[in-house]
C-alpha cells in the first residue's frame, strides 16, 4: 500500500512549482490571459523543452513516456497557479491519437504535441449541451474513403488556439453511429474562435465546419468503438480537470487563509473568529477528500483498473459540487476587497465556475456512476 508519490515525482513537483512561481506569478498570469492568445507561447515552449508538454506521450514519438500519476503532479501545480496553457486540452487530444490512432497517425501527429508546436483539443459538445451519444449531431457524409463534415461544435476548450481538433461526428441516426476524426484548423471550411468567457485563464470557443473534407488517414474510429473512445476521453478530461482543481482549490484556500491571518477587525485577526476559521476548515476537509478520490482515480487509470471510470466520476462529482464554494467563500471571507478586480481570490472563484460543467457536471457524473453499476 502506497498512496504517495515517488521521489522523482516529488522532485518534479518542486521543479514545476519553482518554474511557475518564477515565470508565472498571478500578476503575470493576468497579463497572459489578457493577451491575444490568452497564454504565453514562449513559456509554453520552455515547458515543452522541460518535457512537461509531452509527459505522457511515448518516447518513440518524442515524449517522456510517463504515466498519468506523474502528469497529475504537474496539473496540481498548474492548477495552483491558475497557469493559462493549452496543456489540458493537449493531453486529451494527444491521448486520443495515442489510444485510438494507428501507428502511422501516431508517428505523424504526436511529435508536434510532444515538442509543444502543435496544439489540439477535443470538439465534442454541440447545441443541447449533451454528453450522451444523442448529443453528437454534427453530420458526416461518406465520400469514398473520406468524410465530409458540416456542423457547429460548442464549448470547445482552447478552440481559438488549436491547430488540430479531435471531432466527434454522426454517421447515421443509430445511437452509437458516431466517429472521431482529426480536423486541421487550416483545412478549407474550418473556422474556430473563442467566446468571451468568465474565467480568463481558460479559453473556450466554437468550431464551425462547412463541408470540410477529411482524408481517410485522419479518421480515428467509428461506430461502437468510437462511442467508447469518446466516453473514455470525457473521463480522461474529467480526471485532468479534477487534478488541476485540487491545486486550484489549495491555492484559493492558501490566499484566503493568509488574508485571514493579516486582516484585523474588532481588534483581532479575523482568522481568530470561528465565522472565518470554520468555513476554511470545511474547505480544507473537502479538498483533502476529493484529493484522495482524484489520486486513486489516476492510479486506477494508469493500472487500467476496472473501477477507474467510477473513481473519476466520484472525484468529479465531489469536486464540481464543492470547489465552486471554495471560491465563493473565499471572496466572502475577504470582505469588500474580495469583490474587486484587483484581489486574486476572484480568479479562483471564476475557475470554480469553469470547472463545474466541463467534462460533465456533478449531475452527469452521478448518473454515470449509476450507469457504471455504482450506487
Amino acid at each position: 500500500m502506497n498512496f504517495g508519490f515517488t521521489e522523482e515525482q516529488d522532485l518534479l513537483r518542486a521543479e514545476v512549482r519553482k518554474f511557475l512561481n518564477e515565470k508565472a506569478p498571478l500578476e503575470e498570469v493576468r497579463k497572459q490571459c489578457e493577451s491575444e492568445e490568452g497564454f504565453d507561447r514562449g513559456l509554453w515552449k520552455q515547458m515543452a523543452e522541460l518535457g512537461f508538454a509531452g509527459l505522457t506521450i511515448p518516447e518513440i514519438h518524442g515524449g517522456a513516456g510517463l504515466d498519468l500519476v506523474t502528469l497529475l503532479v504537474v496539473l496540481e501545480e498548474t492548477g495552483r497557479s491558475l497557469f493559462p496553457s493549452p496543456l489540458l486540452s493537449n493531453v486529451v487530444a494527444s491521448q486520443a491519437i495515442q489510444r485510438f490512432g494507428s501507428e502511422a497517425q501516431q508517428a505523424r501527429w504526436l511529435p508536434g504535441f510532444a515538442d509543444g508546436t502543435r496544439l489540439g483539443t477535443l470538439a465534442l459538445l454541440e447545441e443541447g449541451d449533451d454528453l450522451s451519444p444523442d448529443g453528437v449531431k454534427l453530420q458526416a457524409k461518406k465520400d469514398g474513403e473520406e468524410i465530409i463534415l458540416t456542423g457547429r461544435k460548442l464549448f470547445v476548450p482552447d478552440a481559438g488556439n488549436a491547430d488540430v481538433f479531435v471531432v466527434a461526428y454522426r454517421l447515421s441516426s443509430g445511437a452509437e453511429e458516431v466517429g472521431l476524426a482529426l480536423v486541421e484548423k487550416g483545412s478549407a471550411g474550418v473556422s474556430a474562435a473563442d467566446f468571451a468567457a468568465m474565467d480568463l485563464t481558460k479559453r473556450v470557443g466554437s468550431l464551425e465546419l462547412n463541408d470540410v473534407r477529411v482524408p481517410s488517414d485522419q479518421l480515428l474510429c467509428e461506430g461502437g468503438p468510437a462511442w467508447s473512445a469518446i466516453q473514455s476521453l470525457v473521463e480522461l478530461g474529467a480526471a485532468l480537470v479534477t487534478a488541476e482543481t485540487v491545486g486550484a482549490a489549495e491555492g484559493a484556500l492558501a490566499i484566503t487563509t493568509s488574508f485571514a491571518k493579516e486582516r484585523e477587525q474588532f481588534g483581532s485577526k479575523i482568522g481568530r473568529y470561528q465565522g472565518v476559521k470554520h468555513p476554511l476548515a470545511e474547505i480544507y476537509v473537502d479538498i483533502e477528500s476529493y484529493k484522495s478520490l482524484v489520486y486513486y482515480a489516476f492510479w486506477a487509470l494508469d493500472e487500467g483498473h476496472d473501477d477507474a471510470a467510477l473513481a473519476i466520476s466520484r472525484a468529479k462529482a465531489y469536486a464540481s459540487e464543492t470547489f465552486p464554494l471554495a471560491g465563493i467563500n473565499g471572496v466572502q471571507l475577504h470582505g469588500g476587497v474580495g469583490y474587486t478586480w484587483e484581489y486574486d481570490i476572484q480568479l479562483y472563484l471564476k475557475r470554480g465556475k469553469w470547472m463545474r460543467p466541463i467534462y460533465g457536471d456533478a449531475d452527469y457524473h452521478y448518473d454515470r456512476i449509476a450507469q457504471l453499476g455504482g450506487l
Binding site: M1, K261, Q274, V276, S292, L375
Partner: protein, 387 residues
Amino acid sequence: MDFQLSPQEEKFRDEVRSFLKDNLPAQGEKRPADFLAQWNAKVREKRWVGFSWPSEVGGGGGSLMEQVILKEEMARAKAPGLGTCFMGLAWVGPSIIQYGTEEQKQKYIPDILDGAYQWCTGYSEPDSGSDLASLKCKCVREGDEYVVNGQKIWTSIAMWSKMMILLVRTDTEVDSKHDGITCLLVEMDSEGLEVRPIKNMGGGAMFAEVFFSDVRVPVENRLGDEGQGWQVTVSALANERSSIAEVYGLRRKMDELEDLAERTVRAGQKAIEMPSIRRRLQRADIRIEAMRLNGQRFLTKQLRGDPLGSETSINKLHRAALEVEMGELAMEITGSASTLMRGSDVAPENGRWADYALGWPEVVIGGGTPNIQKNIIAERLLGLPKD
C-alpha cells in the same frame, strides 16, 4: 502510488479469508446458539483480538498493513467484532501498554483481550466537556492511597463496567490547566462510588453520572506519573480518533440504507428511484469512499514513519455529518412510517431506523464535537490564531 498488496500481505489476506470461510456461517444461514462464544474464542486464539498490540503482552504483533487487511476482510464478510471489551481494546489497553507498569500490564491486558469484563471512561464532567483539561474532580494522596471526590458525567456503560479509566486533578496550583491531571484505574465497586444512569433521547440508558465520595484508590492503580494524566489521555484519544476503523461501520450502514431504499415503495415508486433520495444517497456514498481513501492516505503517512496528527479530524467531521444525514435519509425514505418505534406493526424494520436517527449524538458529540474538530483543523493544520 500503488494499491496492490505485496505477496506477503496477500498471503495474510488469504489466511483471513479462509478463516472466515471456515468459521463464519454464510449470510442468512442460521447461527448456532453458541456461535458468538465460539467466534470470540477462535479469534482470540488467532491473536486477532488486540492484533496491533505487541506479542509480549499477548497481542498479535500485526503490522499496520496487516491490521488494515484484517479489519477490511472482517468488515467485508460482515463478521462480528474482534473482542468484546470495546473501550479496553480501543484506548484503555493501548494506554496501559504505553504507560503502565509491568504489574498493570499483567493484571489488565489479558482480561481486556479475553473480554472478561468491560471498562468505562471517566473523563467528562458537568463543567468540563469540550474543555476537558479544565476538569476538577478532586484527588488527594493519603499514604498509599488516592482519595477521590467529585463527579463525572456521560460515562458510557458505567453501569455495566467493572473498571474505569479516570482522570482527576491532583494539583490545582499549576500554570497550565493541562498539568496537574492524573490518570487512575478504578474498580467500579469501590466504596463511595455511585452510578446513576441517564436516559438519553432515544429512551435508552447507555451512559451515566458517576459520583465519587471519598473513594480510595491504591497508588499502584495510577497509570503513568502523577500529573502526567493529560499525556496519557491524549495518546488514548488519538487512538480513539484513528480513522481507519470507522469507515467500515459506515459502509455497512450505507449498504443497509441502500437496501432500505430499494425495498421501500412510496406512491408506486421505489425510494431508490426517487431522484431527490438517490442523489443524497450517492452523495453520502462518495463521501464514505473519500473517507476510506483518506484513511489509506493517512496510513501511507504512518507507514512512512510519520505519526498521525490532526488529520484524523477530517474523517471525524465527515463521519459526524454522515451519521446525521444518513439518519435523516432513512426518515425521508420511509415517509409516514419513519417515526414509528419498535412494537408498531408497520414500523420499518421494527423501528431500527427510528433508533438510528436518534443515535448520532454518540459519534457527533462523543469524542469531540464538530466545532472542536474544525478548531483543530483551522488552528493546527491551517495555522490560524487560537480563539
